[in-house]
């Protein structure tokens, strides 16, 4: 068997090993590659940065552990930014398995920035029904969430007094890996005119470019890259910036594999006289 044929029939375990090394090595020995900030993430950062201290935002962390690698660092970055600016955060999730992640993000970010529960942030937890919850918050927050995640009535939580709909919230921030974002755009922004910032997985980001250009969303944080850009704007080195080194190397490995595969196929056909 020729070298080219052998290359085309390469054992998939070798590819797995290459990808594994591409992920592990940069995490063990960071390359500290530079992160350039794109206009979309800058717009998201500027929108939150422009909020006056004491204003309240609704942060919906609509994701589960499968995509936490992308959205957890994003949540941390947005939360840390809000806490630094003394912007109060009313956090919630539309996914049952998202409660653990949301609570963890709030606890870690609060610890890092010295924020306090019920004074700087409130954790409402999970509620089922995407559209119903979004419309319900616009009409009467207490109808949807009579108590917070820990069973405390909303009126007993200092930052939630006098807050009962989007009208009392300066902004809605949605971090999601699903169609929840579409509904936030349709209902929170479209129907109730709440200013909206979106964060989503990298693969979803292009779906929301039209809403960005139509100004229906103020900023867009896409995937781990977006989270890394946000971390750079905050001047912190978090999981996203550390993860971008691994992602860069794995992308290069995949590109090298695709080019090698095509070159091998080309030479193989040429030597057999079936190619161009």
């Amino acid at each position: 068997m020729s070298f080219v044929r052998k290359l085309l029939a390469i054992d998939r375990r070798i590819i797995f090993l290459l990808v594994g090394l591409g992920v592990v090595l940069p995490l063990l020995h960071p390359l500290n590659l530079p992160v350039t900030v794109t206009p979309r993430v800058q717009a998201a950062y500027d929108a939150i940065d422009a909020l006056p201290p004491g204003s309240k935002i609704l942060l919906s962390m609509d994701y589960e552990p499968d995509i936490m690698a992308e959205l957890m660092p994003m949540s941390m970055a947005v939360l840390r930014h809000c806490f630094r600016k003394h912007v109060r955060v009313i956090a919630m999730t539309l996914y049952p398995a998202g409660t653990g992640l949301g609570e963890r993000a709030l606890t870690l970010a609060a610890k890092a920035e010295g924020a306090t529960r019920n004074k700087d942030y409130a954790w409402l937890g999970y509620k089922s029904g995407f559209q119903v919850v979004m419309i319900g918050i616009g009409e009467n927050l207490r109808g949807i969430y009579p108590v917070d995640f820990y069973g405390t009535p909303l009126d007993s939580i200092p930052i939630l007094r006098h807050v009962n709909s989007y009208r009392q919230m300066a902004m809605v921030v949605n971090l999601s890996g699903s169609s929840a974002t579409d509904y936030w755009i349709q209902f929170a922004q479209g129907r109730f005119h709440a200013p909206l910032v979106v964060g989503c997985t990298a693969v979803m980001a292009t779906d929301y470019y039209p809403y960005l250009s139509s100004k229906q969303i103020l900023g867009l944080i896409g995937g781990m890259k977006g989270a890394a850009e946000y971390e750079r704007l905050l001047d912190v080195i978090g999981d996203a910036r550390r993860g971008m080194d691994a992602q860069s190397l794995v992308h290069l490995i995949v590109v090298a594999l695709v080019i090698t595969g095509n070159a091998a196929l080309f030479w193989s056909r040429r030597s057999e006289g079936t190619g161009p």
């Binding site: 530079p34 589960e64 398995a97 653990g100 292009t206 890259k225 890394a228 290069l252 995949v254 695709v258």
Partner: protein, 205 residues
């Protein structure tokens, strides 16, 4: 027998659509009441789903069908988490919270992370420049993959600008066209359901 569900669907769909455009206090109060009912329906759907999960997996365990051990694990987990959740709560420092952080979260992340390995292998074997269209797709994918990560600007300072153009011009045009198509499709499907033309949600007759 099916007139009841069809009538409920028609009235609910028509009412919610109409109430959206009526800025009257009483109309909006009624709309809020409808929304609260929807939450109750969601809660019942959750109970129905749990019963269905229990019935299906219990049958597999009883009949010792293929993979019955996995069904047994599902049932034990369902009961254990429900009991622990009701008994000890579901916060971060509870048994449910710890199981979530040490079992559920790493397992779900691992399953998703395996995609990177599968995609790399599949890209090597299947991503071929066999036609002009496939070559265009291949070239675009390579520019995007390299240009969108931190190492891109180090390879070529023009790569980020190229990726931005690809995202802002061809991508945006295609996404807008798709969004308009999907929107029209959603309106047409909703109308078909409200008017009783589309009845597949009622199940088999």
């Amino acid at each position: 027998m099916r007139r009841g569900p069809l009538l409920v669907t028609f009235l609910s769909g028509f009412a919610v659509a109409a109430l959206f455009f009526i800025p009257n206090y009483r109309a909006q109060t009624f709309n809020n009441k409808l929304l609260e009912w929807t939450l109750v329906v969601y809660a019942f759907a959750l109970i129905l789903g749990s019963i269905s999960l229990w019935t299906n997996h219990a049958r597999k365990v009883r009949n010792r069908s293929e993979g019955w051990a996995f069904s047994a694990v599902t049932l034990i987990s369902l009961v254990a988490i429900t009991v622990l959740g009701i008994w000890k709560g579901v916060g971060e420092d509870t048994p449910v919270g710890r199981i979530y952080s040490t079992v559920n979260s790493p397992l779900a992340s691992t399953m998703f992370a395996l995609l990177a390995f599968v995609i790399a292998s599949a890209a090597f074997r299947a991503f071929r420049a066999r036609s002009v269209e496939a070559t265009l797709l291949l070239a675009t994918a390579i520019v995007m993959m390299v240009g969108r990560v931190s190492i891109g600007p180090l390879i070529s300072p023009h790569l980020p600008a190229m990726t931005e153009w690809l995202l802002d011009v061809p991508n945006l045009a295609a996404k807008r066209a798709i969004a308009i198509g999907v929107g029209l499709g959603a309106v047409s499907t909703a109308l078909k359901i409200i008017l009783g033309i589309e009845r597949s949600y009622l199940g088999r007759s």
